[in-house]
């Protein structure tokens, strides 16, 4: 199962290495990881997407991460009401003749063309994982020559619908 985990960490050098070190040591497969400053300069927010076998494995991962002194908070937000976004830049081999076709195609995705050359156009798209995947599928037949993705970053919504079974580090 795919789990989305956010960690609030002290913005110290090496903290990302600490996280990947825990993941490697405990044999977890990282699908994506994204890092950036949190609301204050001293903190960073890390969003990790991992593929795990079962709930026990996620719980183990959360606990192991939480043991790190520089990691303040770890939450599995997969089942919470949340907003999750990823940004992708896609370079497509599109001749000038095909450009309008692509422009129409990407419109429903609210994607935009941010660079044009004689042989290629570069498209920027933001959205959840599924949306980005869907657009990539549609663009593939035109010939994608390069992709850069940020990986998912996420945040829980201000209002939660119900109280979900909420796997956090502070069990029991």
């Amino acid at each position: 199962m795919r789990r989305m985990i956010t960690a609030t960490v002290q913005n110290q050098s090496g903290v990302l290495q600490r996280i990947t070190s825990v993941l490697t040591k405990r044999q977890f497969n990282i699908e994506s990881i994204s890092v950036g400053h949190a609301h204050t300069q001293e903190l960073s927010k890390v969003t990790i997407v991992v593929e795990v076998e079962d709930h026990r494995k996620v719980e183990q991962l959360i606990k192991q991460l939480h043991k790190q002194i520089d990691i303040l908070k770890v939450i599995d937000i997969t089942e919470l009401a949340l907003v999750a976004r990823e940004l992708a830049l896609v370079k497509v081999a599109a001749t000038p003749q095909m450009r309008s076709e692509v422009t129409v195609l990407i419109q429903p995705f609210r994607a935009s063309i941010i660079d044009v050359s004689s042989e290629t156009i570069t498209i920027e798209v933001t959205g959840n994982h599924e949306k980005v995947e869907a657009l990539l599928e549609l663009l593939r037949p035109y010939g994608i020559t390069d992709i850069a993705r940020t990986g998912l970053t996420a945040m829980t919504r201000g209002t939660q619908r119900t109280v979900h079974s909420f796997v956090s580090s502070s069990i029991i």
């Binding site: 070190s21 825990v22 040591k25 790190q68 002194i69 029991i172």
Partner: protein, 572 residues
């Protein structure tokens, strides 16, 4: 206003000092009574600051010796062992000990020198990224960027190392940080928002556990080193006696419960006793306290306590559910949890029949070995050492057969006298660990039980014994082989003894004599008695090369993949 400003300035002026001086101040503030270390380029300023101080420093002859000594010190005192090593090779020589301390939860504070900040990242002379290297094997590690940060980082390091589940903390100090001047703060605020160990157990879970205790007919306690860390031996004993529940130990948990107690089953696991292993197999309630269900203990998990309600008490939440999903999870300090359990004064379960069954196992399936008139048996050697030291010694070991025989036959009545490398299984650990143990407990006899193989990995520390005249008795269990490897090759590889026999050996007695350490070769029970008594009496170092049977195996034994009830060699 003006006056206080001046006073403030005055205070600061008087406390301006170099990073190296700050390190010394901070170590004194922590009441460190001994440092184990080895100098080198990157720590020259630190050693220069040390030169002017009254701090005791043990110069081992290899950094691995320093860190194992610090581990031995930590194990017997419960205080953090302190280590200093230089950058690059000095620091990398510590890696084995750091990993060992991590997996066996020993508190250490380790200072490594580093090249100057201006050249970090340039592959400078003796540069190694020790923070990166030790990240997965430390409880925490940091590199100091400016001297002012040192006092706080050191205070935090001691706090982290010694609280919760203890572990090693590395502080990497670039050379220019050691020499740079800064303002020393004697009582730096420790602020670790990401670190708050849960000490007090959840009372609801404890109540559930006590209900299970009342209902259990076949309960057993598995006590590990977490009980020692928490100083919970007395609470454990009170609880076991009060509720009439038998106790088995992990390898590292030996000493939490007296070996000669009626309720004691012995060590469990790969070379555990029949009674302990069968109890873990057959129980209906397993109470694991400060133990992490290591694979050498559990054997095949499908057979481990498979009929039992499992309660797991540990201060490290990550241990709970890591190997076994308990029915009753309790995060908390072992001692406080046991005290909370006792305070609930629940009804006893009906355990008489079970205790009688296990007593019967103890009587009919005890540890055994064939005695011999011709050759000294290693098991007998350990029994004799127990007798001569009245079971009062601090015993350290290497890794291998002699380690298992020590665990099986020495018999501990008191806590914190058993020092062994359990999780990592580090050969060469025992001898330097004994040096540290002696520094920590100078009034107790200290015996290093080492293999003829393992001793040769760290024997250069004989220099320390000579120099300090430390009363450590080195007992080489000389079976002229890498015995544990030989045993596996005999049993699982059709006696193909690939690289495991050591027929050619140094003359260990002459070797000791080269260091001016009294030594003897012994090969009979009487000689063992005589020389151990003499060694104890001498109050100085002593080495015994004990020639024991070379083809003896450790039994019982659970073969890899087998269940805890599937022991080989239970009976002759």
């Amino acid at each position: 206003m003006k006056a206080s400003f001046v006073a403030e300035k005055e205070r600061k002026k008087t406390t301006t000092m170099s990073g190296a001086e700050m390190l010394m101040e901070a170590l004194e503030a922590q009441q460190v009574d001994v440092i184990f270390g080895y100098p080198g380029g990157a720590v020259l300023p630190i050693y220069d600051a040390l030169y002017k101080r009254n701090l005791q420093h043990i110069l081992t002859r290899h950094e691995q010796g320093a860190i194992h000594a610090a581990q031995g010190y930590a194990r017997v005192t419960g205080k953090a062992g302190v280590v200093i090593a230089t950058s690059g090779p000095g620091a990398t020589n510590l890696v084995t000990g750091i990993a060992d301390a991590m997996i066996d939860s020993l508190p250490l504070v380790i200072f490594t020198g580093q090249v100057a900040t201006s050249v970090i990242g340039t592959d400078a002379f003796q540069e190694a990224d020790i923070v990166g290297i030790t990240m997965p094997i430390t409880k925490h590690n940091v590199q100091v960027q400016k001297p002012e940060d040192l006092p706080r980082m050191i205070a935090e390091a001691f706090h982290i190392a010694q609280t919760g589940r203890p572990g090693p903390v590395v502080i990497d100090i670039p050379k220019d940080v050691s020499t740079a001047l800064g303002d020393y703060e004697s009582h730096p605020p420790v602020s670790l928002p990401g670190y708050e160990p849960t000490v007090r157990p959840n009372v609801l879970q404890v109540k559930r556990l006590m209900e299970a205790v009342t209902n259990a007919k076949r309960p057993v306690i598995l006590a590990g080193a977490g009980v020692l860390v928490a100083k919970g031996e007395e609470a454990l004993r009170n609880f076991a006696e009060q509720y009439h529940i038998p106790v088995a130990n992990t390898l590292l948990g030996l000493g939490t419960f007296p070996y000669n107690h009626d309720l004691f089953l012995g060590m469990a696991g790969m070379h555990g006793t029949y009674a302990a292993n069968m109890a873990l197999y057959d129980c209906d309630l397993l109470i694991g306290i400060g133990a992490r269900f290591d694979d050498r203990l559990t054997g095949n998990l499908n057979h481990f306590a498979s009929k039992a309600t499992i309660a797991h008490i540990d201060i490290d939440p990550a241990e709970i559910g890591k190997i076994i999903e308990p029915t009753i999870p309790i995060v908390g300090c072992a001692k406080q949890t046991l005290q909370t359990m006792l305070a609930l004064e629940t009804e006893r379960g009906e355990t008489q029949e079970w205790v009688a069954t296990l007593a019967n196992y103890k009587e009919h399936y005890p540890l055994w070995y064939d005695t011999s008139e011709e050759v000294l048996k290693p098991q007998q050697l350990l029994q004799l050492v127990h007798e001569e030291t009245k079971g009062e010694a601090v015993v350290t070991t290497d890794v291998g057969q002699h380690q298992m025989w020590s665990a099986q036959y020495y018999g501990f009545t008191k806590p914190n006298r058993w020092v062994t490398s359990g999780g990592l299984g580090t050969m060469g650990f025992g001898f330097p660990a004994a040096i540290g143990a002696k520094m920590g407990k100078p009034d107790l006899p200290v015996v290093a039980i080492v293999g003829d193989g393992g001793f040769q990995m760290t024997l250069q520390e004989l220099s320390v014994l000579q120099e300090r005249q430390l009363a450590v008795i080195v007992i080489i269990v000389n079976n002229q082989s890498l015995g544990m490897v030989r045993q596996w090759q005999q049993i699982f590889y059709e006696e193909r003894y690939s690289q495991s026999l050591l027929p050619v050996q140094p003359d260990f007695v002459k070797l000791a004599e080269a260091y001016n350490i009294p030594a003897a070769t012994v090969s009979t029970p009487q000689e063992v008695r005589t020389h151990v008594a003499k060694a104890l009496h001498s109050k100085g170092p002593y080495l015994l090369d004990c020639r024991v049977a070379s083809d003896e195996n450790v039994y019982p034994m659970i073969a890899p993949g087998q269940g805890i009830h599937q022991m080989l060699g239970v009976k002759k």
